[in-house]
Amino acid sequence: MLKLSLNRVGDLFAKIAEAQALYLPVEKAGQVDYDKWTADAKVSMDHLNTAKSAKDLFFPQVERMVDFKMEGKNIEIKPHALSDEKFVLFGVRACDMKSMEVLDKVFLAEPVDSFYAARRMNGTVVTMACSEPEESCFCNVFGVDAAEPAGDVVTWKVDGELYWKALTEKGEALTEQIKALMEDGDEAKVEESKAAVREIMGKLPLANLNLAPFQPEKLNEMFNSPKWAKLSEACLGCGTCTFVCPTCQCYDIRDYDTGHGIQRFRCWDSCMYSDFTMMAHGTNRPDQMQRFRQRFMHKLIYFPSNNDGMYSCVGCGRCVSKCPISMNIAKVIKALGEDKDE
């Protein structure tokens, strides 16, 4: 294990940025999101969850796919080159790291999504253990350990120092680059801080959400629960929850008509929207109750049914803190879970 004084992280970032692009939590107009590092970026080392998640770096909100150019009777097809930017993503929390496992299941399964795969291959992820979890965090419910994130490199902030440990080959390679800045760190210090964080995690108000009732065989029962009507009653259908969610993965493919050609792009879609999965015959989710139900059924029943029990929520708490009407997956788990006890 290596370490470096937190006063010198600026040097670390500069060093990393010498060899590849560096993305990390940056404050802009009062909001912290992942952005490219520059010498004068306002890097936020303490912010827990960025407003948007780390998925943006692999699955951006908008992505050009292919252009079509029309000339007379000829159509020229110009696919967009896959991203070849080598980058380091720094400061990813344990929940967001877990979300990449979820996204990998979707995008790296056959047929592989080449846009996503390219970014995944070119990116090295440096995670950071949490030290002050929020009341909205419940990653532990999904088997995530906030004190010990996965990633290519994992870091801890303890007593003014940044502790650094490579976990993969990519991580080793990055460590080689920055090693000169680092000194040897004491593992015991990190262990102490991990224990402290785990203790807090156990005491969080949402730490005991019960997932037991959310099993594939409960599909029909959950689907038909009368509780959805009440839960979705005030939902604005805004899609905020899906856009800030690190595991929401749906996208729409659209054509932009430039007048002399077509730019085909994909952009995030939301099951909360009225035209989501619109087909020639119309939509199969005509009202908000059905759209709302889709989001949570997908995360808690459909996705695990198709992916060896892996839920597609990682308990990051973004939908808990961002939904304009304060309706969220924690409330859904509680409300539907109660059915079991009745």
């Binding site: 802009k28 107009a29 009062g30 909001q31 999101d33 827990l48 407003a51 948007k52 909100q61 908008v62 002050e132 979890p133 929020e134 009341e135 807090i200 005491k203 969080l204 108000p205 949402l206 009440k230 009653e233 005030a234 604005l236 259908g237 805004c238 899609g239 905020t240 856009f243 800030v244 729409d252 659209r254 932009y256 792009f265 952009c267 995030w268 879609d269 939301s270 929207y273 009225s274 035209d275 619109m278 808990v320 961002k322 304009p324 009407i325 304060s326 309706m327 924690a330 409330k331």
Partner: protein
């Protein structure tokens, strides 16, 4: 506020019992005290009904949906919410006959984000003690002044007048909320050079994720289907494809609600990216006031609003070039 909440619950039960209404639109208790959800109650769900410093959500727009249902609904509206409701009457979006309105005293609503911005983490409970908030967190008890945590809309409170109601629940005690000049920041922006102003808005609007929370919560945005959602409109867009769209979505929306926006503040309250959308709307309100005379949308429900009411005294379109500055 506690007293008002008790009176509200009592009145809700009585009006349900005597058949005046068959449901109640209010706020439902959440997990952490601050995360209330708008909800429709019947008699047996009222144990979860709350009214406290986090009842910031304006319930007026929900009444569009409620008016399509059978029977009369009771809704609780804060003073500023009544302007939105009035405006909805003016636009024929709600049926006044199907709504029983109780106006409720409000001493300013709290913004949990401001509490977080003070560096207070892990909030599990909040108690209001007079002018102070006692905040329980995972990391111990914290305190802050209530006025430092008020929502922007409350800092510029329109006052305690209710513009539409069937009955009122107030304590009769004297108090003041707000008092800030709502156009101060707008004037500051106006004083900037166009270049500086552009930089300010780019910085803010580049955060937008086009979740549409601002639009969907807005009582003035009551179109059945927004052009931006309609695949047949040719301009449907689910994402800001470039910075032009990022800017234009908000400017178009601000134009569309100009003269109808009551300055209810909901758009800024709900934006997950903390974009100060109220500044755009207030710029329009300020201009409307200057060009057409003082006007408050929703103040009554019969007056035609300035931008849908042509008069010979209206400003000429050339005002745009006269006022446009050099870059």
């Amino acid at each position: 506020m506690q007293r008002v909440a008790e009176m509200m619950l009592e009145r809700a039960k009585a009006l349900l019992a005597d058949g005046t209404v068959n449901r109640v639109v209010g706020w439902e208790m959440g997990e952490f005290f601050y995360d209330l959800t708008p909800a429709v109650f019947t008699a047996d769900g009222l144990d979860k009904f709350v009214y406290n410093g986090f009842s910031g959500a304006n319930l007026s727009k929900y009444m569009i949906k409620e008016c399509a249902k059978d029977g009369k609904a009771l809704v609780f509206l804060k003073p500023c919410d009544t302007y939105s409701f009035n405006q909805l009457i003016n636009e024929h979006r709600v049926d006044r006959e199907k709504v029983y309105i109780i106006g409720v005293e409000c001493r300013g609503m709290i913004d949990i984000r401001k509490i977080r911005d003070m560096g207070i983490k892990g909030v599990t409970a909040i108690r209001e003690e007079g002018e102070e908030l006692i905040i329980d967190t995972i990391y111990g008890e914290k305190k802050c002044a209530r006025k430092d945590a008020l929502l922007e809309k409350c800092l510029c409170c329109k006052g305690q007048e209710f513009v539409v109601y069937d009955e009122l629940l107030t304590t009769g005690e004297a108090f003041t909320v707000g008092g800030n000049n709502r156009f101060a920041k707008v004037a500051e922006l106006e004083a900037m050079t166009p270049g500086e102003r552009f930089a300010f808005w780019r910085n803010e609007l580049s955060k937008c994720i086009r979740c549409n929370a601002c639009r969907n919560v807005c009582p003035a945005c009551s179109c059945l289907q927004c052009v931006f959602d309609n695949p047949k409109s040719g301009i449907a867009s689910k994402a800001n494809a470039d910075d032009f769209e990022e800017n234009m979505f908000h400017i178009i929306r601000a134009f569309h609600v100009a003269g109808r926006c009551t300055d209810c503040g909901e758009c800024s309250r709900v934006c997950p990216q903390g974009i100060p959308l109220h500044l755009l709307n207030r710029k329009f309100i300020k201009d409307v006031n200057e060009f057409y005379g003082e006007f408050q949308a929703g103040a009554d429900n019969t007056t035609k609003y300035p931008l849908t009411n042509f008069t010979k005294e209206d400003v000429e379109p050339s005002i745009v070039t006269n006022r446009g500055g050099e870059n």
